[in-house]
Homo-oligomer: 336 residues x 2
Amino acid sequence: MKQVVVGIDVGATSTKIGIVDREGNILDETCTPTPVNTSGARPEGFVLQLHDTITELRGTIKEEYKILAIGIGAPNANYYKGTIEFATNLPWQNEVAPIAELVSKYYPGIPVKLTNDANAAALGEMIYGGARGMKDFISVTLGTGLGSGVICNGEMVYGSDSFAGELGHITMVPNGRKCGCGRKGCLETYVSATGLKQTAFEVMSRHYFTEPSALKKLSFLDMTSKDIADAANQGDEMALEVFDETAKMLAYGLTNAVVLTSPEAIFIYGGLAKAGDLLLTPTRKYLDAHMLKNFCKRDAKGNIVQQANVKILLSDLNDKNGAVLGAAALAWNEQK
Amino acid sequence: MKQVVVGIDVGATSTKIGIVDREGNILDETCTPTPVNTSGARPEGFVLQLHDTITELRGTIKEEYKILAIGIGAPNANYYKGTIEFATNLPWQNEVAPIAELVSKYYPGIPVKLTNDANAAALGEMIYGGARGMKDFISVTLGTGLGSGVICNGEMVYGSDSFAGELGHITMVPNGRKCGCGRKGCLETYVSATGLKQTAFEVMSRHYFTEPSALKKLSFLDMTSKDIADAANQGDEMALEVFDETAKMLAYGLTNAVVLTSPEAIFIYGGLAKAGDLLLTPTRKYLDAHMLKNFCKRDAKGNIVQQANVKILLSDLNDKNGAVLGAAALAWNEQK
């Protein structure tokens, strides 16, 4: 009988569910709306909705299989406690919702694990992606914000309270840009879809590009990171400068993570990863230039060459249903 | 028969050697000069010198014992390869010295492990110090520079190339103070004995303290971190400001490490740790003020209180022969 896990990704508007085997094949998948935070929905109701959706999904699968575990990627998820805690985008923003316990009532004897989406992406990379066989790596999720998951010695770093891996909130610029976290100068205020747009406006504010640019036609509300990427792909000088500055800040942020945990590779995942080489080529350039010498290559005579050892790679999961695979990987990782 | 390990700390001028039991009792200890980098000494000669010193030391111990392992703390030590690589303060600065292999020739069948002194301090904290029972913590060594060792999931983080844990080289201030590593704005240029003195001169340069201060009488060459601590302990306003600024930078640096690895505690070890509450009290203040909310305490109603969860503690090893205990802990840690 085929062994599978259920991977669940609780997104901002939609919750995706997939039934996934050990090789990362999604036998079938579906989705159900995530309750909005003003809906008054209770965790019990949402878990019943999940269970109904899973039951319906299971009905569509012809072959015989056995569910070994359930993995859930969700905002503010506490891995140790199996809870979603004070999640501002969910209807239970002022409480600790015991999701794993509630789900377990429908699936007795089956382990249920939760973690946040960025950690799930890192586990997805380890189980299904480019990090297979690596002991030390970091996964960076570039979307509206910057999330990350850190793997050391082949294990996820949750830390003492389960909330480790917040690379997006290391302080890059003292008294820098205001961050949603209430602090200033965090990496994600510069490196994220939001940060990219802010940098576009900073570049426009700083000096006048005489050449025409598509970006000049767009308001702050209208401009998206895709507009900036499209312009850059057409050689727009200003848009290229925006990517160059974003890459520089990303490289400096990654360098801070490298000197602390020395990963073999850093995987870039998420919406902004679609920019591909537009972002990665200058990121590698700045990473090489800024890397601490201990973490650089040496030539045959042992002289340090200013070229970072760490590999910067696009995640394999960008082309797949990475969020569901990440949640499934969390479930598989408990089967060791 | 008592089981022991040999702990060896290769310092800048002197190499300390101790024979240490599982409980951290040093049965006996001694030291031998570290060859200076212009001496032309070969690694083979230094290892023979170590062996002779160990043999002499063993002769002084009356009770019967068995050596289980040898641990060595040394600059530029590669844990994975057992080598000292391109160490600028040793006579073999342009090569990779296979120290573990050379030592093993004198002690066949006994494991020989190397790591740098800051990692050894972290292991000492884990085996003998305040971190016993902790799974996730960071040890910070404040001396001429700032070293660190990171423990996640109960294991030392060496990373892909063995050089992880360089908290002293995260970039705190873009284009900040020049660092010995060739880069700018590294944490250790602000938080270290050297950084403390530079901050004293920055404070003096910035505004004129009308009150008398012992620091005004000292040249840059003469001033030491002890002078600044002594002045601060006597209520010297300017010296207190120097510690306040140093603590602020330390707190911001530690916050960056906390959001990435979420340690339960951070242990402060090394010469500058002697400043004690002069440094720790303002560090805790700034850490509370600057900590990302996820890593802060909550009150009974679940509201976040701006007080960091992570404990900032003086290392127990400061009052002991911490360097030898750290090297011994490295050896014990291989016995698991």
